[in-house]
């Protein structure tokens, strides 16, 4: 933690953006590249190529970034205090996972104002798996006074490939942590900019209308015919790019192909929210996305950044 005292409007206890900026500074000090959100819709920060693709291959990598996460089925028209269809994850990936990763994580909590001497911090077993990414890892849910504030995972496999070296991944649930730090019961009540009086901007000021409109879109208005087509188009494009980019032992289009995989995954999530995918069909869609993810992972391993 830096010695200079933060101005009140930057203190994570008063400010949502202050929380994000504190984490950015903390992980920048650990040698991470601080990236900006990936400019595509995705269900979790793990989908960002800086995690999924960079976790593969032998090259060391350290990155941290905020990623807006879209979970269409979690939309509640802004009425549920803890549930949104669009929220922020703070994502950190360190490859290879350093020996003191748990310590670093605890220090980051200390930096945002969670003192481990006063709070009950716990690492509770959690086996993480992403069927769509063909990925799994072992680690924990990190609890602070009974609340899950982060996920901590040692990646074992991504896109169907063994991770060697192993990456350590941290995912902070920013809104939830902020509610705790700011002592408010609903995400919408969060102070976003840390100002008071007329200058105060809340989470609701920024996102309430969006939650309402996107909940309508996700549940009622998203044109499923178009979405099915988007899924198919993205799947076809992904396969076409994978074929076109293959060049002997090298691959020249791994990243564009992976973007199409992200697109297919998001189209599937929207279709799922519209309730037009049955339980058994659901499984086959997940498998189709996983096949794309695996092929993209394989292609990435044939690129320079993938260590080829």
């Amino acid at each position: 933690m830096s010695d200079t005292k933060l101005p009140a409007h930057m203190d994570p206890k008063n400010s949502f953006q202050g929380l994000i900026l504190t984490l950015q500074n903390f992980w920048a000090d650990q040698g991470c590249v601080i990236l900006q959100p990936y400019d595509m819709e995705m269900g979790a920060g793990t989908f960002h190529p800086a995690t999924t693709l960079r976790a593969l291959g032998p090259k060391p990598w350290r990155a941290a970034y905020v990623q807006p996460s879209r979970r269409p089925t979690d939309g509640r028209y802004g009425e549920n205090p803890n549930r949104l269809q669009h929220f922020y994850q703070y994502q950190v990936i360190l490859k290879p996972s350093p020996e003191n990763l748990q310590e670093l994580y605890l220090q980051s909590l200390y930096a945002i104002g969670i003192d481990p001497k006063v709070h009950d911090l716990r690492f509770v077993e959690d086996d993480w798996e992403s069927p769509t990414l063909g990925a799994w890892g072992l680690g924990w849910e990190c609890w602070c006074d009974g609340m899950e504030v982060s996920q901590f995972t040692y990646f074992q496999q991504v896109a169907g490939f063994e991770c060697a070296p192993v990456s350590g991944e941290l995912t902070y649930g920013l809104e939830r942590i902020a509610c705790y730090l700011q002592n408010v019961d609903s995400i919408m009540e969060l102070n976003f900019n840390g100002r008071e009086g007329d200058e105060k901007i809340t989470y609701a000021d920024v996102f309430l209308q969006a939650e309402q409109e996107f909940s309508r879109y996700n549940f009622d208005h998203a044109n499923t015919e178009i979405l099915f087509r988007h899924f198919k188009d993205a799947e076809d494009e992904c396969k076409a790019l994978l074929a076109a980019g293959a060049d002997g032992n090298q691959h020249k289009l791994a990243m564009p192909a992976y973007e199409q995989c992200i697109k297919a995954s998001h189209a599937f999530n929207l279709l799922d929210a519209r309730g037009v995918i049955s339980v058994t069909e659901r499984q086959s869609y997940i498998l189709r996305v996983r096949e794309l993810a695996k092929a993209c992972g394989g292609a990435w391993l044939q690129t320079e950044a993938g260590g080829a």
Binding site: E99, F123, V124, D145, G168, V279
Partner: protein, 696 residues
């Protein structure tokens, strides 16, 4: 006596693996020590979230020297044999072998290998790395750039050997880049400093003052006692939960029990909703009023630290989370109650149960028809059974069950009761999932029985109709459990159901036609499950096979009648008469088998009274005639005890026959008639069971 201390220090080990891991560590290390010639007096192992510890006392400082003798070939044996001996004994030339003399064998070679004793520390340094590498974790992982696997990253190893007095030695080795030493660490937050370790006694004491309770059982006991005391002081009782207690103790090194409260309004929720939210999701204990037995508006949390504010912040944090969880639950409950259950049924249209078996709605329609068909057979009103089946799955699309899937059935029951359904109908919504496992109870109310059977028979018939049967260890739709459920419900309630017919009728509902082969296959699947189930009640599989060999479910026999027959048969076989009768049967069957083979034909003609030469023949024949009629009558009356008595009465004439009659008479007419008589005996006994299936 010298002692060994070993600690494997890691990142947090999941609570559910700790006890087994400590046991494995003890077994693996002590077995390996013994194998290397090191006997010990005692060994104890411990586990906390961050460490596995083993203390072995009464070890020698070194293993004893050993001398082994290996006898070889005679000195004049061929060169090949001598070469082989040298190779096997690990000798380079004959100079290293000794010659011994045996008065019978003459001179022969002997290889004497003397192995000096090894220091215990060297042996430990040799065996532990391999054990760590091959440790049997249920699921292990790699980390960083290494290849070692452990349950979570292994960070330090302490290994010391204490000989006499204060003299201790660090046992040095390395595994997966982790070097052993004599340093451990205290509680992650309360006393994280390094601790130098000598032997178990000072190790355990140092950890205790560094806020680590090493022993899982002691942590459990501390939690239990503190929880009881805190509860008692408030006039409350802890709702005991051994599984939660062990889990809670596996999540802390320094247990601190504290009490939190939630708003009283949440007590208006069904009790199970509150306890599920608090126990399964927050790993906190629920409490009851000691006098009234009612759920209390407080809970107990187990913290891992003693905080300077006395835990106020921790309690407040936990209260917030539990408040949020209960608010969610209350919101779901209130929303769910606003709509009658059947108004949710259309949503089941969109839920595909299985692509070849249609939607949940179609499944519900089938359940309604099957439950109504079953109702009169189990003593229920058809309308009630149909109504219960109709709304049995409606809670799957309520908000509460979506959030807390473990409450399926239970919420349906509450919602049905709230909208004024009859108690037997609302109970059936919960009970129709039962029995959900070997220890779960079996439904006993008639409406519940009808819907529970319908639910299971529909799944089984459906998956058999589309050829998706369980194979090997793969049983994704839990069909074995469903079949076992049908068996237990039928037996516990003594239901004489013609399963073969029920399944046939239901297959028509599912696929438009009854496929006889599939029905027969499903019946034998039930029978296989029955054999497994009966094994636990002491009825051996061969007895059941013998009964089933005479006609099982496919022939319309019912589960209770099959089991009753098996029990009576087992009783008969245990009696002296039964034993003797079985011996007679076997003798008859063996003779028939041999002679049928010899003559190339079966002996199934009528027995000819006039061809008898001896009294024993005619006596046996008249006994068989009497018994045959009586057994048939008793079986059709399902009086299996009487049928067994009939059979037992054959014992004397059978014994007499074999004592005095020689079957293979020289006169072919006499011989054939005697063989026909034995065939008749076999046929009569097979009215009860196929005795040839009984194990010798």
């Amino acid at each position: 006596m010298p002692e060994l201390l070993l600690e494997l220090f890691s990142e947090e080990i999941p609570a559910r693996h700790q006890r087994r891991a400590a046991e494995n560590l003890k077994k693996l290390v002590t077995d390996a020590l013994v194998e290397r010639g090191l006997l010990y007096e005692g060994a104890v192992s411990y586990a906390t979230p961050r460490r596995l510890t083993l203390s072995v006392v009464g070890l020698p400082a070194a293993s004893a020297a050993t001398k082994t003798e290996r006898k070889g070939p005679r000195t004049d044996a061929p060169e090949k044999a001598i070469e082989g001996f040298l190779r096997a004994a690990g000798l380079t030339s004959l100079d290293q072998a000794t010659v011994q003399n045996d008065p019978k064998k003459g001179d022969f070679y002997v290889a004497i290998t003397e192995k000096p004793g090894e220091n215990t520390t060297d042996i430990v340094a040799d065996i532990v790395p391999t054990l760590v590498e091959k440790f049997p974790w249920p699921k292990s992982m790699r980390w960083g750039s290494g290849n070692l696997t452990w349950i979570r990253p292994l960070r330090a190893i302490t290994a010391t050997f204490a000989v006499e007095g204060d003299e201790t030695q660090t046992i040095e080795f390395e595994v997966g880049g982790v070097k052993s030493g004599n340093t451990t660490y205290g509680h992650r937050f309360l006393a994280p400093a390094a601790i130098t370790v000598r032997r178990f006694e000072d190790y355990a004491a140092a950890l205790e003052s560094a806020k680590v309770v090493l022993d899982l059982d002691r942590r459990m006991e501390i939690i239990r006692a503190d929880a009881d005391n805190l509860a008692f002081a408030q006039g409350l009782e802890v709702i005991t939960d051994q599984g939660l207690l062990e889990e809670a103790a596996g999540l802390v090194e320094w247990p601190v029990v504290m009490m939190g409260k939630f708003e009283e309004q949440f007590l208006g929720l069904p009790e199970e909703v509150v306890t599920t939210a608090i126990r399964s999701h927050q790993k906190c204990f629920c409490l009851r009023d000691a006098k009234t037995g009612k759920l209390a508006d407080s809970f107990l949390l187990i913290s891992n630290i003693e905080a300077p504010d006395g835990g106020k912040t921790i309690v407040a944090g936990n209260e917030r989370v539990i408040h949020a969880r209960l608010s969610d639950a209350k919101f779901f409950y209130d929303t769910d109650l606003k709509r009658p259950l059947e108004s949710r049924l259309p949503k089941l249209d969109a839920m595909v149960f299985h692509e070849k078996l249609g939607t949940q709605s179609q499944r519900v329609e089938r359940l309604v028809a099957l439950a109504a068909e079953l109702a009169p057979m189990v003593g229920a009103h058809a309308d009630d059974a149909a109504r219960a089946a109709k709304i049995a799955k409606a809670d799957l699309v309520t908000d509460m069950v979506f959030e807390f899937p473990e409450l399926q059935g239970l919420m349906g029951k509450y919602y049905a009761a709230a909208q004024g359904e009859k108690p037997e109908i609302s109970n059936a919504i919960l009970d129709h999932y039962k029995p959900s496992g070997p220890s779960d109870e079996v439904p006993t109310q008639s409406v519940s029985i009808a819907v529970a059977l319908a639910d299971k028979l529909d799944i089984l018939t459906g998956f058999w109709a589309i050829d998706e049967k369980p194979t090997g260890s793969k049983d994704p739709f839990a069909l074995r459990r469903a079949a076992l459920g049908v068996i237990r419900i039928s037996l516990d309630n003594q239901l004489d159901l013609n399963l073969s017919k029920l399944v046939g009728d239901h297959m028509v509902r599912i696929s438009g036609a009854a496929d006889e082969a599939k029905i027969a296959d499903l019946m034998s699947f039930f029978e296989d499950r029955l054999v497994v189930q009966m094994r636990d009640t002491g009825i051996k599989h061969d007895v059941l096979d013998a009964v089933l060999g005479n006609g099982g479910l496919a022939k319309g026999f019912t589960l209770p009648s099959i089991v009753a027959r098996a029990k009576e048969l087992a009783g008969l076989l245990e009696s002296e008469a039964g034993e003797s009768l079985l011996a007679g049967y076997r003798r008859a069957a063996n003779i028939l088998r041999a002679e049928e083979k010899k003559d190339g034909k079966a002996f199934n003609q009528t027995v000819d009274n006039s061809a008898f030469l001896l009294d024993q023949e005619s006596q046996l024949f008249s006994a068989i005639k009497v018994v045959n009629e009586s057994v048939a009558a008793n079986i059709s009356n399902e009086d299996f005890a009487a049928a067994m008595n009939d059979l037992a009465s054959l014992r004397l004439p059978v014994d007499a026959f074999f004592d005095d009659v020689m079957v293979n008479d020289d006169d072919p007419k006499v011989r054939i008639n005697r063989l026909n008589l034995l065939a008749k005996l076999r046929e009569t006994m097979h009215l009860i069971a196929d005795f040839s299936k009984l194990a010798g």
